[in-house]
């Protein structure tokens, strides 16, 4: 068999330095894939020997995209170590920031980083405004900004926009590529929403800043609570937050969600063919409790797309492997073992023990796991989470799909949109709870503790569902200093390299069998990778020095 290797680096429209190498056969079908993180910074090494209270501000800088996720996870792991119980308000404020981040991240990802993999802008120019108006009703009962004149105006804008010359994404994309399937009307609908999304994202980021001080890198979380108490006591601030979310929900329900329906209908063949389907193992730690029992997301493990038997998540089963990542277990300097690239700059992949990535290989009970919105939706749905079930059913009915179909590139986007709509709904309940609390004079935002009288040695961990999936931080405190810090981020799971066993990580698995129309314009590859929403700064973490078993952090 005549195989050809293709290197794609950098993968753009993602956070960080991601490289993909694929082998295709004579029919341009992907036979093998290697995914590699190309940057190592060593934030965990830097965290060592520091005051545990500083972990949040520093670990937050792991990523500027998932910024408040790491900030919160690091602080939570310290609180876990010292068994500090947060005041309700502090937990809610952290959740409110997280929810706004979910909404922001998902919308930006879909429109800003991913949509042009599907939309051919030039085709939209040929759309008929009246037909487009009718077309929009196929995906929503009350489509966003849907009117004949609106599309007329959008068409005019579009032609001006294109005439205006070199307009970034519109000029560089792979126009005319055979993989573009949408009709002119469909392209026009999506393009008009693309423009709306530009305005949307600036607004929604304000919601994070209201309680966080700024975003990226908010600064209002401290061990024991939050600092933005004067903001939560200000009715105007709460109102601002509420209205931003309200506007967001309108856009999400009438544009974002219908747009993913549109893609699901247009690319039905691909979905049914399972394009972008990965390992079939899914993981979620669940979370975001409210009203006592109820949880926004359920925890659970699904193996091999088997939705009938679902296991509960058990953190003891997590391990980290480094067979083929640039680390070693021997106690060398920071456990790093960089084996370099080949002379031509390609990854060393010839032998099945060649190391090829800075991303370590987390495993659940020895298995690779896909994590993220798709995993959350599948697990919560399967576990009969009443809150989310109706959202999923509605989508599946409207697009005439089954639950398994969501396990595909376009399905991941659908799951993301379903989740976003669901989160919006939930956010209203959260903020009402905050208002309720304040009304009854509970203005506590920090649990009082005296750092000097806390125990000297402690271990803690935090498991959080964040926009891209499951995030875990582990901390080991000795003598009031961080002795060890370890992070497994969503992209660490999804972009993991292989082990000696050769089992492919979720990214790698999803690429196998993909047909590439033009190896120089690897649009199909981008679609699959982008559907995971990669975030490489998060993904690369040094392995903890105490060996593979992370469960030993359990107190």
């Amino acid at each position: 068999m005549n195989r050809k290797k293709i290197v794609i680096d950098p993968i753009t429209r993602i956070e960080g330095h991601l490289r993909v190498e694929i082998e295709i056969d004579e029919n341009n079908i992907v036979q093998e894939a290697w995914v590699s993180g190309q940057l190592f910074r060593g934030i965990e090494i830097i965290l060592k020997d520091r005051d545990p209270r500083d972990a949040g501000l520093l670990a937050g800088r792991i990523c500027g995209v998932c910024t408040n996720s790491h900030f919160r996870a690091a602080v939570s792991s310290v609180e876990d170590a010292y068994s500090l119980e947060l005041p309700k308000n502090a937990e809610i404020v952290r959740d409110l920031m997280a929810m706004a981040l979910f909404i922001q991240d998902h919308v930006v990802h879909f429109y800003h980083l991913h949509l042009l993999d599907f939309v051919d802008i030039t085709s939209a120019l040929n759309a008929d405004a009246k037909l487009t108006y009718k077309e929009a009703f196929r995906y929503s009962d009350e489509p966003f900004h849907n009117s004949y004149t609106h599309y007329e105006a959008t068409l005019e804008k579009l032609s001006k926009f294109i005439k205006a010359g070199k307009l970034g994404p519109f000029s560089n994309a792979y126009w005319g590529h055979k993989a573009y399937k949408l009709t002119p009307s469909q392209n026009l609908i999506l393009f008009s929403h693309y423009l709306e999304a530009l305005k949307f994202q600036a607004e929604i980021s304000k919601a994070v800043a209201i309680f966080g001080g700024k975003t990226p890198h908010p600064q209002s979380i401290v061990v024991g609570g939050v600092t933005s108490v004067s903001d939560i006591l200000n009715p105007q601030r709460l109102n601002d937050y509420l209205f931003i979310i309200k506007k967001a929900k309108d856009f999400i329900d009438r544009a974002y969600l219908p747009d993913t329906k549109l893609l699901a209908i247009a690319y039905r063949d691909e979905i049914k063919a399972g394009v972008g389907r990965s390992c079939g193992n899914f993981m979620s730690v669940g979370g975001y409790e409210f009203e006592g029992e109820k949880k926004l997301f359920c925890d659970g493990i699904i193996y091999n797309h088997n939705f009938n038997t679902i296991e509960d998540f058990n953190e003891l089963k997590i391990s980290e492997e480094i067979d083929r990542a640039w680390y070693e277990n021997e106690s060398s300097q920071n456990n790093i073992k960089y084996t370099d690239l080949n002379k031509d700059g390609s990854l060393k992949t010839a032998k099945n023990d060649d190391k090829y990535s800075w991303i370590k290989a987390p495993r659940y009970d020895g298995n690779v796991m896909e994590t993220g919105p798709l995993a959350r939706v599948l697990i919560s749905y399967t576990k009969e989470n009443k809150l989310i079930k109706s959202f999923v059913n509605e989508f599946l009915e409207a697009s005439n799909l089954e639950i398994l179909d969501l396990s595909s590139s376009i399905g991941r986007n659908a799951a993301r949109a379903i989740e976003t709509s669901y989160i919006c709904e939930y956010t209203f309940k959260l903020i009402s709870r905050l208002i309720q609390n304040i009304k009854y004079y509970d203005t506590e935002t920090w649990v009082k503790f005296n750092f000097n009288s806390l125990k000297k040695n402690a271990k803690g961990r935090a498991f959080l569902e964040v926009p891209r999936g499951t995030l875990s931080h582990f901390i080991n405190i000795e003598n009031k200093k961080i002795q060890n810090f370890s992070v497994i981020a969503p992209t660490t799971w999804n972009a993991t390299p292989k082990n000696f066993d050769g089992i492919r990580g979720p990214y790698e698995a999803a690429l196998i069998g993909l047909r590439i129309t033009d190896p120089l314009k690897p649009l199909e590859i981008l679609r699959v990778l982008h559907s995971f929403d990669p975030c490489l700064a998060c993904a690369v973490h040094v392995i903890n020095t105490n060996g593979k078993e992370l469960s030993r952090y359990k107190i």
């Binding site: 290197v7 794609i8 993968i11 429209r13 922001q104 804008k157 001006k160 205006a164 560089n172 001080g213």
Partner: protein, 807 residues
């Protein structure tokens, strides 16, 4: 400090005024030996013909300066630092001698009623009163003599004047005969004047304090009125006993005499090493500046001889002479002479360099001539010839300020000034050497009718700003001409904005915000807007190295309105991993293309640190596996400017925090360059990046930078000083623990480890995410992320102590 100034002339007054202005606490006293308040000697002619009285030529003395008249100095006690006059004693800390010079006469004329010098107001009165029906004899033809001659020539009660010259020519031996002819003609045409060359007084008859007759080599004159205009000598008789003198009082280059407390300036001083004695007002005032700088021990100014400019405007001709200290007799000369226009331009060359220029009724640009003389460039005669006639600005009025007639008219019409006094705020014309003061006054008067009463008056700032804005506008136009890439015209951004439904008023308010943030006057908004449109012409490479994309995120998510994003993402960012759609090889081609084809034209923005350990292999980018360092070096080499955005790019930031596992450094260190502009912050406020790019475009130069190479306009203010909670700090109202009553009330966060006092950046005023909040507002306090080593020093919630590690 008590400063005593001896003298009452231009230099004494200039020095006293300036010193008072620089430091108002200095006690200054002027001692003048005249009986009248200081006046401007340059305009003595006006007293002769009576067109002004002495009040008309008064010098303005700061009212806080004391002046004592009729003080004839008789003694100085250097040890006790005292000066004695005929009637008083004055103590000083610093003494400044500015006694000027004395005119020379060929014989003692004291008491003789029809003989006069021409140096002070009394001389003028004597001349004015005594010349009736006399045969006037003027001896000497220096600039002052010629001016007096012209004045006398125009007076109706004067009928005969004889100019007595030892030399064979008028004015200067360097002039060509054609030039001399023009000068001579202008005097002789009235028929009153007779010039006697190579002549001198041989005999005189004096009786009863009257000069009855004169005999010269060639002439015999009865009942003359004799005026000496032959020269001057330093007025230092009173000081010879106390200080080292030669021709003048000897000084060093700071005009300090052998006594460290005594300075001498102006025509009475002689620079010991140069042997130089000032002859022009400009040199004298320069000496005063040097003395002041030394006396106040501020930025020291050393006196150096430079190019001098002389002007003579009499009757029918203008004469301009520009002369370099390098001028020597071994010159070659190029003359451009037009008989028709009575115009002569004489260029004196020494070894192909211009060393002197004399022009009569000349049209050349004096500023250019001065630059040419001061430069080391060879003279291009063709060029000088080509430009002999350019005179759109009219006559040169003030040689000191290079002010031409049209310049002055422009000032008058723009600012609607109506008097010489009002001119002071706009131009120093007529005030430096003062020679052209009267002309300036006349011109102001003549131009009044040009003032349009409907146009609002402009201040000096307005005018300067307008000039600056015009410059910027020209620069943008030029930029647009030179960069036709992108095929964009000025309307494109508007079209794009329109298509994104960004309202005009939103754009306008954004522009106002950017303009204000750059600390520019609102009038700059127009050009800021123009520059924004032009921004899309600069190719921008945005490299992400060892980073977290936080700064890129700050652009694509957190700005409002979405204008910055529009500008950056959709128009000008040519290479940006997070934003561009082409992946892999295609994106690398874009990069190569910019680097190769846009040398010196593109801007490089770098986000993230550079890992240096392990040969930089902790970061590799692109199919060939280039290290981050190699990529940075490749991109930086031909970049027009390099902006290091974010704290990691400043000094490695969090990535370089101890123990710095990857040996990370900032951009400047990685490239080993000192010209990297740093815009630190975690993340950097996008508005500051926009401002820096705009200022590059508008002013073609780096903005003023601080010691960390951060633009001052964004990083000058201390967070603590501009903080909204500062009032609580002053009142001692502090948050003591998170969530306490102080936190709820928004008290100062200093006790909770706010690093505002150590941070310099505009966060308190610009805030983040469209002005929604900033860390202090969110109750956490600042962590000084814009400063060096912030991750190790400031990224915590404890009060900063200098050496926290030993805690």
């Amino acid at each position: 400090m008590r400063v005593l100034v001896i003298g009452g002339g231009i230099v004494a007054v200039y020095l006293a005024n300036k010193l008072k202005k620089e430091n108002s606490s200095i006690d200054i006293t002027l001692l003048s030996d005249e009986d009248t308040l200081p006046y401007d000697r340059i305009h003595l002619c006006r007293l002769v013909d009576g067109s002004e009285d002495i009040e008309g030529i008064r010098l303005q003395l700061n009212p806080m300066i004391k002046i004592e008249l009729n003080q004839k100095i008789i003694k100085i006690n250097r040890k006790k630092q005292r000066v004695f006059s005929n009637n008083s004693m004055f103590s000083y800390d610093k003494l400044i001698i500015a006694t000027g010079s004395l005119p020379i006469s060929l014989f003692d004329i004291k008491g003789i009623s029809n003989c006069a010098l021409f140096r002070n107001a009394k001389d003028c009165k004597k001349i004015r009163d005594g010349i009736e029906n006399k045969e006037i004899v003027v001896v000497g033809s220096g600039p002052i003599g010629l001016e007096l001659l012209d004045t006398l020539n125009k007076m109706p009660n004067v009928s005969h004047i004889t100019l007595l010259l030892r030399a064979k020519h008028l004015y200067s031996k360097y002039l060509s005969s054609d030039a001399l002819k023009i000068i001579e003609e202008s005097y002789l045409s009235s028929g009153k004047i007779k010039i006697s060359y190579e002549d001198e007084i041989t005999e005189k008859i004096i009786k009863n304090n009257q000069l009855l007759s004169l005999r010269t080599k060639k002439l015999h004159i009865d009942h003359p009125f004799l005026i000496f205009g032959i020269g001057i000598k330093p007025n230092i008789e009173d000081f010879k006993k106390y200080l080292a003198t030669n021709i003048g009082i000897l000084t060093n280059s700071y005009m300090q005499t052998e006594d460290k407390n005594i300075y001498a300036v102006g025509e009475c001083a002689e620079l010991e090493t140069l042997g130089f004695i000032a002859g022009h007002v400009k040199e004298c005032t320069l000496q005063a500046d040097c003395a002041i700088s030394h006396l106040l021990q501020e930025e020291l100014k050393e006196f150096k001889t430079g190019t001098s400019v002389d002007m003579l405007k009499v009757g029918k001709f203008d004469l301009v002479e520009v002369s370099s200290p390098k001028f020597s007799n071994s010159y070659e000369k190029v003359i451009i002479y037009s008989k028709e226009d009575s115009r002569v331009d004489e260029y004196f060359l020494n070894e192909k360099r211009l060393t002197k220029f004399i022009g009569i009724n000349s049209n050349v640009d004096l500023a250019y001539i001065e630059t040419l003389i001061n430069s080391n460039n060879n003279v291009d005669i063709d060029y000088l010839y080509e430009n002999r006639l350019i005179s759109e600005k009219g006559r040169l009025i003030c040689s000191c300020e290079h002010l031409y007639q049209q310049d002055l008219v422009d000032i008058v019409t723009k600012t609607a000034i109506s008097s010489f006094g009002e001119l002071a705020t706009f131009s120093q014309a007529g005030r430096v050497c003062g020679r052209c003061k009267m002309m300036v006054q006349d011109l102001i008067k003549e131009s009044q009718y040009l003032i349009d009463p409907n146009v609002p008056r402009k201040s000096i700032e307005d005018i300067h700003r307008e000039e600056e804005i015009n410059k910027v506008q020209k620069r943008i136009d030029k930029f647009n001409r030179l960069n036709p890439r992108n095929n964009l015209d000025a309307n494109n951004l508007e079209v794009a904005m329109e298509s994104l439904e960004i309202a005009k008023h939103e754009v306008n308010s954004w522009i106002s915000m950017v303009t204000a943030n750059m600390q520019l006057h609102p009038n700059f908004e127009v050009v800021v807007q123009e520059s924004i449109k032009a921004l899309n012409k600069i190719p921008i490479i945005w490299l992400e190295l060892a980073d977290c994309s936080g700064n890129s995120e700050a652009f694509i998510k957190s700005t409002n309105p979405s204008i910055e994003e529009l500008i950056f993402d959709y128009i000008s960012l040519d290479y940006h991993e997070l934003l561009m759609s082409a992946s892999g090889e295609q994106s690398e081609t874009v990069l190569e293309d910019i680097i190769k084809n846009q040398k010196g034209a593109y801007i490089l923005i770098v986000e993230g640190a550079i890992p240096m350990a392990m040969d930089g292999k902790y970061l590799r980018i692109g199919a060939k596996g280039e290290t981050g360092l190699a990529l940075l070096q490749k991109c930086a080499k031909d970049a027009a400017i390099v902006l290091a955005v974010g704290s990691c790019a400043l000094d490695g930031g969090i990535v370089a925090a101890a123990p710095n596992p990857t040996g990370a450094v900032g951009v400047a260190q990685a490239l080993n360059r000192e010209d990297i502009i740093n815009l630190p912050g975690c993340p950097t406020n996008p508005i500051n990046i926009v401002g820096t790019l705009l200022s590059y475009l508008m002013f073609e130069e780096l903005p003023t930078l601080d010691k960390l190479n951060r633009p001052l306009w964004a990083y000058e203010g201390r967070v603590h000083d501009n903080c909204e909670r500062r009032g609580h700090y002053e009142l001692g109202e502090f948050v003591k623990e998170w969530g306490d009553i102080g936190a709820k009330k928004g008290y100062c966060l200093f006790e909770m480890g706010c690093k505002g006092p150590y941070a310099n950046v505009n966060c308190p005023t610009m805030k983040f995410n469209g002005g929604v909040s900033w860390p202090v507002q969110a109750g956490h306090g600042c962590m000084a992320c814009t400063e060096l080593g912030f991750a190790d020093k400031y990224a915590n919630e404890r009060k900063y102590v200098e050496d926290e590690k030993s805690e």
